[in-house]
């Protein structure tokens, strides 16, 4: 069976800094994977490459395949990348909704990749597409806000609209880049529950980058930790020790901050155990 995501020897260098180094990663269909690591470790860069939103190095860039189709290789995006993206849902840290459009119009944008271009450009969505958008919105619990402008919603609600957009897209792979980094704990929990539900019930492959290690351990069976653009750890989330996390996040300051963060989530006993360890 072809893996959902296959990354082969991926290299990315920004002006001076190397962001990804010879990175290899295979994710099977139906997995839910957390990408963790400190700021600048390359996790967001990796995710952007998976969706073809960024382009790898030209010479020895390697390649990215999603659902068996090549998204990019050696610094060149596949010519059909725009249609490929329809199968790859992307959730952004800053939601990236179109603020002045209504919630339902934002969700309908998810249909664009699968309908004829002329119809999408004129905004002529048919009844089936509209129904699909409403169902997606109902699934994230925001059907009653359909006609409101996206900008009037709270951050957590906006992120759920963004998930509804990815659901309408009927993407097989969902990539979420720091989806809860700008949210309060309650909204963050809701967003993670929805992502986990999409993974469990619909069997979609979900890859999510996270700052909060406790969320990663709670929701994602598999965790991949990046450090300096290389894979530092790949395995069961629960296998990560606090010693390992200290190492991953480098400075002691970061680790102590993380432990504070963990102790705030009192409902997670294993997190407190970790803090004591």
């Amino acid at each position: 069976m072809t893996p959902a995501i296959h990354v082969d020897h991926l290299n990315k260098t920004f002006a001076k800094k190397t962001a990804l180094v010879d990175l290899e990663l295979t994710i099977a269909t139906g997995e839910m994977v957390a990408l963790i690591g400190a700021s600048g470790s390359g996790k967001s860069t990796l995710l952007r490459h998976l969706a073809g939103l960024a382009c790898c190095d030209k010479g020895n860039g390697g390649s990215v395949k999603v659902l068996g189709r090549e998204v990019q290789a050696s610094g060149r995006l596949n010519g059909k990348v725009r249609r490929l993206r329809a199968d790859i849902g992307y959730i952004f840290q800053q939601f990236n909704l179109v603020n002045r459009l209504s919630v339902i119009d934002n969700v309908l944008l998810g249909c664009l990749g699968r309908m004829p271009r002329w119809r999408g450009s004129l905004g002529l969505f048919n009844a089936e597409e509209k129904q699909c958008a409403m169902q997606s919105l109902a699934r994230v619990g925001l059907a009653d806000l359909a006609q409101q402008r996206a900008s009037t919603l709270s951050g957590g609600q906006q992120q759920r609209v963004a998930i509804a957009r990815a659901l309408t897209q009927r993407a097989e792979v969902i990539l979420a880049d720091e989806p809860i980094a700008s949210l309060d704990p309650e909204s963050a929990r809701k967003v993670m529950e929805i992502l986990a539900d999409i993974n469990r019930r619909d069997g979609k492959t979900v890859v999510v980058t996270l700052h909060q290690v406790d969320y990663a351990m709670r929701y994602c069976p598999r965790a991949v930790a990046l450090k300096g653009g290389r894979i530092h750890f790949d395995g069961q989330g629960s296998a990560m020790s606090s010693q390992f996390l200290n190492d991953l996040y480098g400075a002691d300051v970061d680790a102590s901050l993380m432990i504070c963060d963990q102790s705030r989530h009192a409902e997670l006993p294993q997190r407190l155990a970790l803090a004591r360890a």
Binding site: L53, R82, G89, Y90, N96, L97, V98, R117, S121
Partner: protein, 260 residues
Amino acid sequence: MTTLHAEAVGKRTWPQYLGWGLFLVLLAWAWKGAEMNPLALYRDSGNMATFAADFFPPDFHEWRSYLKEMIVTVQIALWGTVLAIVCSVPLGILCADNITPWWIHQPLRRVMDAFRSINEMVFAMLFVVAVGLGPFAGVLALWISTTGVLAKLFAEAVEAIDPGPVEGVRATGASALQEVIYGVIPQVMPLWVSYALYRFEANVRSATVVGMVGAGGIGVILWENIRAFQFVQTCAVLLVIIVVVSLIDVLSQRLRKRFI
């Protein structure tokens, strides 16, 4: 302490003195070129008072034709502006450096610069030769010069957008055109409407002038009256212009406020 303080202040300001000095030299130099002669205002004040008196009372006998031509002027402005908006939407997007590569936006911007740098009066004179006397020449003149201005303003609005929503639309598998339609246009719409209405106001004023070179509207009557030294009629025409232009300004401002 006080001397130290004074020195510090003095040190800080001497380049400013130099700047002001240079500015004064520039003014003196331009005084000669512009043949400035404020004394003439005083010396010939009698003449001017007589001249001003010739304007009153304004003669509104021909008010029907004034109003008719004023409406033509507004019609010229309306069509000139609408055609310019239609062209400026694609041009504004193509001139934005965050949308197109340099080899598209740089040449296009130079063309827009040219459209803008030549006054609509000059275009009106050229189009009068090309399509003959009449309002259509005025429409064409306003169309060209307004396109130059609006495309630049539209492009600047596009360059200031938040790239996030555009990327959000891209991630759904949308085409490049759809990214613009759903990611860019909704963001710039309020500014674009505001700019377009403002240009319409400005074009009503400009349309009164293009008439003076034969491109139709109230300007034709204005110029005929001035040339015939019929100052009471000139005064009436000027009053009609003032009233209509002010009215349009107020209306358009109201409309603009609804979009901001």
